[in-house]
């Protein structure tokens, strides 16, 4: 079985969970005997392709690049703001929407040149490419929903350009894969899609014992401070403002708690102002966006990770954190909450309860220990191979019945 897959980024050049998800799924699909042609837009550095970790099965994965530059977490009118491989900011005049259309145009050509059985498009930036490939080839189309405009907006005040693309693509697709039931409900209810067309395939995680680092923020620890981490984009979707509100309540009760915020995004200034206004400068640290070793070191050094998302289709952070031995407090408005039980859960808006659970996690070491022990065991039951097998079942069904 040969699948023409459209995505927009791939590790290591990635700014979020999407690239990681594409990588894990693609590798395991290959293990299941699926031949994946992964199409990436040009601006995603070629350098990334040479660092695919599934090198042993590389012969089955080919990477095609096309001329396009796409940043997926932006609205349709956003002026592209990406960094080149030397860390220098590149400014483009064209909007993301234009890039999405350009990607679709190229996709149509590729679909005519290549032979394949199915089309699989990841995230909204690739949906039009998927639709174009379907029109050009007549092959069945699967859209993989990692997020929707409603998640990005954290409300109904959505980007109409993105919504239009999503709605048309969902209607055109033969099957839709949602990364959680949480997301499936949005697709069904907000886009009016037949629920039988939408399958839930929860993301997986690569479980292996991570490299251990010297703890960071040693000085704070030596002073007896407890550390709480937020790691993620700093946007309205992620609920960082609720995290800061909870921090205020925690600090009022226990001034020896320090909150670390790792990430960047369009709300950084607002969050910094909020921290200042609430008088929390001594208790909130802005670490910038931590990646790779720095991020892992931070995961290992803190007492608790908080994912306060307003609307989180899946949410990789708690799964990453537990692999580094740190438990999480996550919002109930997340897809990952459907697959993990050994975490603390809270409604993102319930900052009193968020503060209560942060304090409880610090106060009761037995619970902290059990969350780590049982959480690690639980996460080991969520490998990407499990997700890949579900995707293969959908592939098989489509090849058998639709083509």
């Amino acid at each position: 079985m040969k699948v023409l897959t459209f995505g927009w980024d791939f590790p290591p050049h990635t700014t979020g969970g999407l690239g990681v998800a594409c990588q894990g799924l693609t590798r395991e699909l290959a293990n299941e005997g699926v031949e994946v042609i992964f199409v990436l837009p040009k601006s995603q550095s070629v350098e990334g392709t040479s660092r695919f970790i599934f090198a042993d099965i590389e012969h089955m994965v080919r990477t095609r690049e096309i001329t396009s530059s796409i940043a997926p977490y932006l609205g349709s009118q956003s002026v592209l703001d990406v960094y080149d491989e030397y860390g220098v900011r590149k400014l483009y005049q064209n909007t993301l929407l234009e890039e999405v259309h350009a990607f679709a145009h190229k996709a149509s050509q590729i679909a005519k040149e290549e032979t394949f059985d199915l089309i699989h498009a990841h995230d909204w930036t690739s949906y039009l490419a998927g639709v174009a490939a379907k029109l050009a080839s007549g092959k069945p189309l699967i859209l993989h929903v990692h997020a929707t405009a409603f998640d990005q907006a954290a409300s109904d005040n959505i980007d109409p350009g993105v919504f239009k693309i999503e709605k048309e693509a969902f209607d055109t697709a033969d099957r839709i894969i949602a990364v959680s039931d949480f997301t499936k409900q949005i697709v069904v209810n907000k886009y009016n899609i037949d629920p039988s067309k939408v399958h839930v395939v929860h993301n997986g995680i690569d479980t292996k014992e991570p490299k251990h680092y010297e703890p960071t923020l040693q000085e704070l620890r030596a002073q007896g401070k407890k550390l709480i981490l937020y790691h993620g984009r700093i946007t309205i979707q992620k609920g960082v403002d609720y995290f800061v509100q909870a921090a205020q309540k925690v600090v009022a009760h226990n001034p020896d708690v320090v909150f670390v915020i790792s990430g960047k995004g369009d709300m950084v200034g607002q969050i910094m102002q909020q921290v200042g206004r609430l008088g929390l400068s001594q208790n909130v640290l802005f670490a910038g966006a931590l990646w790779y070793e720095e991020r892992d070191q931070m995961y290992q050094s803190v007492d608790l990770v908080v994912m306060p998302s307003v609307s989180e289709p899946f949410g990789l952070v708690p799964l990453e954190a537990i692999q580094h031995g740190t438990p999480s407090l996550i919002s109930k408005q997340s897809g990952v909450a459907e697959v993990v039980t050994h975490v603390l859960k809270v409604d993102f808006w319930d900052v009193d309860e968020m503060a209560n659970k942060i304090l409880a996690a610090l106060r009761y070491p037995v619970m902290h220990g059990q969350l780590v022990k049982e959480g690690k065991r639980e996460v080991s039951k969520l490998p990407w191979s499990r997700a890949a097998r579900k995707v293969v079942d959908i592939y098989k069904y489509l090849v058998e019945w639709i083509t």
């Binding site: 039980t341 050994h342 603390l344 859960k345 503060a355 659970k357 009761y364 037995v366």
Partner: protein
Amino acid sequence: MLTVCPYFHVHQPYRIKRYRVFDIGHDNEYFNDSSETDLNNRRIVEKVANKSYRPMNAVLLGLLEEHPEFRFALSFSGTVLDQFEAYAPDVLASFQEIVATGRVEILADTYHHSLAFFYSVPEFERQVAQHAKRIYELFGQTPRVFRNTELSYRNDLAKWCEDNGYLGIMAEGWDPILGWRSPNHVYHPPGCDKIKVLLKNYKLSDDVAFRFSNKAWESHPLSAETYSQWIHAHHGDGNTINLFMDYETFGEHQWEDTGIFNFIKALPELLMRHPDTTFKTPTETVESYDSVGEIDVPDVLTWADTDRDLTAWTGNDIQKDAIASIYAMEKDVIETEDMDLIEVWRKLQTSDHFYYMCTKWSEDGDVHAYFSPYESPYDAYVAFMNALSDLQLRVRHAVEKKQQHKGEKLKKPEKSVSFVQRLKQWFRWLVKKVLFLIHFRK
């Protein structure tokens, strides 16, 4: 001759509200949730009263009136009796009416539905005494057959019961304990020559308690005719069919629309159509039959899930921590001699709190999820430990105050207090002490 010996267990815990870390030291009320959730104890009692207690009591009273041979046993936790008194006094009155027929036996129990026997025998004894006192006051009976929380049982518990004059004790008729033997006989524990053990026939009990409304079950829907045939099939291979189940099976676990009330209404008559079938209370049962052999249970046996042990209450680390923390307070709490603090401490011993913290979801998670008012076992633990932390503070203050008081008292004689005054003081102290002891030991 085949005996049918039913007993229904009536219990509601005092569920702990969402008690937060900030509340420690500021809020002394742990059980007064007033939300629209299942943490609201009044709301639950009112709901279950409507679905189960009121209609089922009417059914039972009707059956007792209709069939002079019909007999059974009830067991109550003190915590449910207290809540009936506060939230549904008519339910308590209807239970009194049922017991007044003279054909309903009440079993011995711990007042607070606790696992105290396995953590502190002195505390266990105080709770059993408190329960017996309450039962006598409300129903005029002194229990003679013991059943422990969650039907938990062990050889040494049986020995304790024998030493304290009980005629019988109940346990799960679990195959690994019985081997080839049948639960439908009366047994005795090792080292005991007076007390007898009644074993639950879990297959026939669970057909009603768990499987009655299960559409995937091959025998669904279960008719009273079929069920009475199953019981009659034991004529000749046993003396007694012990049907033990939660009272709330009727109307709450199995809803009215499953036909459970009609089932139970029809059953006594169908059972007694066989001339050699009779109903007996547990006391009558143990007095009617000799033990056929010894039943050896060195490790705790319960009626819960597939393990039949205490792992549903004490299986994981947070459960162990919570239960160890509550019993670690015993000495200090008792020392306060403050009845309110002691009562709150006991309400926190109710086994349900630990059950809500159970994390073995994957195996029998559905059962636990159904019975938990919390969204997660960790929510249950946090509420419990926060409330416990507050209680610890209160107990510490009370103990400190008492010690201070004692210190002052010791100093007083130096101020040349007259002998008569000292005698008066001593007498007052003595009266207080005696009243305290009476309260527990009666």
